[in-house]
């Protein structure tokens, strides 16, 4: 019972301490970002230039996290016609713009990815 849950294999070493630190840090980031402008009592506003470019930061972060891993395999360019992730991602983006629903986007993407990946091994 303890083995499959990972308790047995878990070592309380530096790597584990690091992971716990990152997880607590992520929780702090959640609190800070969600209540950012509500922490201080005195009123304050963003400088105009920051207000203008702030909306683009999440876009850059998300596309910077997802797309290189879809375009590359272990840091190498893979421009083959048999990459299931490509077809799934393009179809998922298209269905998002059609239906405006993230759940439909995931479901259709997986419906294309899983057969190509599991049956044909793309």
């Amino acid at each position: 019972m303890s083995e499959w849950m990972g308790w047995g294999g878990m070592n309380w070493d530096a790597a584990e301490a690091w992971r716990l630190g990152v997880i607590v840090g992520l929780a702090v980031i959640t609190v800070l970002s969600r209540s950012f402008f509500l922490i201080l009592n005195r009123p304050w506003r963003l400088p105009k230039w920051l207000h203008q470019c702030l909306p683009f930061a999440p876009i850059a972060a998300l596309s910077g996290v997802i797309l290189p891993d879809m375009l590359m395999h272990h840091g190498e360019w893979v421009l083959t016609a048999t990459d299931a992730r490509w077809y799934a991602a393009v179809a998922a983006a298209a269905v998002y713009f059609w239906r405006r629903n993230v759940l439909h986007c995931i479901l259709l993407g997986m419906a294309i990815y899983l057969p190509l990946h599991l049956v044909w091994g793309w």
Binding site: S35, A60, S63, V65, P68, A92
Partner: protein, 264 residues
Amino acid sequence: MIWQRHLHRRPEFLEGVRSMLPQVPGLMAWGLMTGVASVHTGLHFFDATLMALLVYAGSSQLSALPLMAAGAPAWVILATAFCVNLRFVVFSLHLREYLMHLTRWQRMSLCYFTTDLSYVLFIQRFPEPAPDTERRQQEVAFLAGNSFVAWAGWIAAILLGVVLAQWIPEAWGLGFAGSLCLLGILCSLLSTKLRFLAAVLGAFLATWAYHLPLKLNILLAIGGVMLFCWMAQSAVERWQIGQKASDESDASQAPQADSPEARS
């Protein structure tokens, strides 16, 4: 905050609960997948459970997981998570008008539970902040009810995902569903041409600088895109001012960057 009894007694608490309920199945599917993805990218059961219970932010968790697996330094992971969460910073500026009558502890704890969906439903229900104390309390009760349902559904689903991940083979590539989810959120942000351009540029920069150490390619992409978009907007503004000066009658029809007129 959402556990305060006097809020539960208000009819607006139940109204908030009811407004969130239709969203719960979609939310739970995403939570389930986030739980599975966190185990499949290499977190222990204990770490994955702790992350699910404490972090409560799907997109920043999904972005942090591959970085943690790649051994990126903690500050890069946290900076990336903060950038993915920057939309909440903008929401908090808006929520300020509604919640400043609460104590700091109440505000911060209520905001911790307020995700994208709660914020959107709350602003739809109360487009203007209330002028008096009684109606402010109603607003807080609504937000508490609606955030509570979202939190309960999400936590149940993500913990189920963490447990079920043991029986779901990694070969199914369900971690890919996490990428698709982030892709969907990314698409939802692409409301203007400039935003679309920002996504393309971000992908290009992050891919081009992929071999930088410490996963710095993502921070480089964020910095480059913000600089580019700021310059592009300033250029458009200057161009509009120039237009206005040269031809007063045509200036009103000039397209504005990042506004509904610029939508494709």
